[in-house]
Amino acid sequence: MYLEQKGCVLNLKYENKIMTKPVLFNGGEVHRSVYLDEEIFSEEQEKIFSKSWLYLCHASQIPNSGDYFTTEIASQPLVAIRQSSGEVKVLYNRCPHKGVKVLSEKSGNCGRFLRCPYHAWTFRTSGELLSIPVKKEYESCTFANCEANAGMKLVACVQNYRDFIFIRLSESGLPFDIFFGNSLSTLDNMVERSPYGKLRIVGKALRHRHRCNWKMVMDNQTDTCHPMVAHESSAGEAIKLWSETQEGQAKPPMVVELFSPFMSSHAFFADMGIRIWPNGHGHTGVSNSIHSDYSEISGYWESMIETYGEARTKQILGDTRHNTVYFPNLMVKGPIQSLRVIRPISASETVVESWIFELEGAPKEMLERTVQYNNLINSPCSMVAHDDVEMYERAMEGLKSQASLWVNIARLYQPGESWEETKETVGTSEIAMRNFYSMWQSMMEEENA
């Protein structure tokens, strides 16, 4: 729509100044204010982050009754707690009395009840108010009618999908199954890569602060035309150093195996393919990916066949999806068993949190590779991430320019693009970004009830 009617778009841009609802995504371009404007950021928190399904934690982090994990999502302090029934409930981490955060550790076990450290109000793990010291002093007032009487508030919607705990803060919004649809197949594939069909989170998250808008990081996850350019200094040097110093040895060091695919050509990334799903989700690496050619780890194939049989094992391990982006702020890499949560802090600040999983029942070497990939790619010390962050931060600087108001995401744009169906196309297309912004825009345009 936008390429054929450029004149019309220009009018729209002009009208942006006077329209109350400006067009921020025009089909192939994103308005720079989407990345820079603090007011748009606040609106996103309310319209996108409270109404989308957001990843909170993995059930393996809280295996036993009373185990909890605290976090902050969309500025809300939250705590996920394992109940004695085995269910996971999510509470707002706030005492209904004076507002004190009840649990302050990142994780732990609270026993059978929670106790506020300020005045010793206690709560069941389900949030229900259990006791107040000298409660009779509240008897003459209308405490029964107070909000505080209800205890710690529960988050409206929680879904445990194969041990991945998702929440939706708002009571209204798309149901979980509709919101994610077939995109859940990436999580399925990661789970099935375990011979026991079970994942376990390992260690703490690497947390890397970027001075940029969170959506730049999301865009980059399906940007297949940057690796060979932005990462030439790390991936290119890895190939060179290997050929200079170690040639003749049978197997390259793991770092070379992990880095060298970044130097693959545009043609390789084009052939990889890209798939999009309704509601802003998508993934790179449909038929092939930069994770396809890792060397075999002895014993893994056999352990998989034992569980799934040969045909199914081939299917599971043959699906080597590259990056799956879940709208709005999650990225999953099945073949490497890692997950990134892109946490918006402000319009110009983002924290990227990277978690890894062990495939239960798989040889330990699988975990070693996952650990090394995560350290090398996702750490604040990562020589690969340094160049990504540099690009985001330079974009934050460059976008201040009056030269243009628009960021271009039109590579392989096709007239009349629509987003209601699952679609596959050439891997170098920026269609997944357009799919993301189409969802973003439709949520931002919704009026609050």
Binding site: R207, G236, E237, S354, P380
Partner: protein
């Protein structure tokens, strides 16, 4: 004899920092044993670098790659380049019985700057050394940052 070793290893720790701050990486590599590993754990009491995430865990090959990358003309995050400054407390050297292996513990304030920005890190720096022939070599280096509870900005040079 033991005092000489202590003085020599103290000087070695100081020399290492100086070479790193002056970005004389080839000379620094000369101080490292072939089996060198460098580790920046992600948690304070982490014991396992292989099967748990770390901020950094690398062997000599990856360290060499890191240096090559810093010097690559398309190392975009090094345009402009970063600088660093190590501020060390006197290392505490512990020599093993046979006088051919030793460890050092040292308190460190490390500062990195780039363009208009500056970051400071308090850390505990642990070295282990081996006497190879007549030369003491650094076989491992572990840097435990004080602030592991907060998200970190890019840390680009060699701490």
């Amino acid at each position: 004899m033991r005092n000489n070793i202590i003085h020599h290893l103290e000087d070695l720790v100081y020399l290492e920092s100086k070479l790193l701050d002056e970005q004389r990486y080839e000379e620094w590599l000369g101080l490292l044993d072939d089996s060198f590993t460098s580790w920046i754990p992600l948690t304070h009491n982490q014991v396992d670098p292989l099967y748990e995430p770390s901020l950094l865990y690398e062997d000599r090959f990856i360290t060499q790659l890191r240096i090559k990358r810093l010097n690559n003309s398309r190392s975009f995050s090094q345009q402009p380049r970063s600088r660093s400054q190590h501020l060390l407390q006197r290392p505490e050297i512990i020599i093993e019985e046979n006088n051919s292996a030793a460890n050092s513990l040292c308190q460190l304030i490390y500062t990195e700057s780039r363009g208009e920005q500056e970051w400071s890190y308090a850390a505990r720096l642990e070295h282990s050394f081996l006497l190879i022939g007549s030369n003491w070599k650094i076989v491992s280096k572990k840097t435990v940052l004080l602030s592991l509870g907060k998200p970190l900005d890019s840390l680009q040079l060699i701490i």
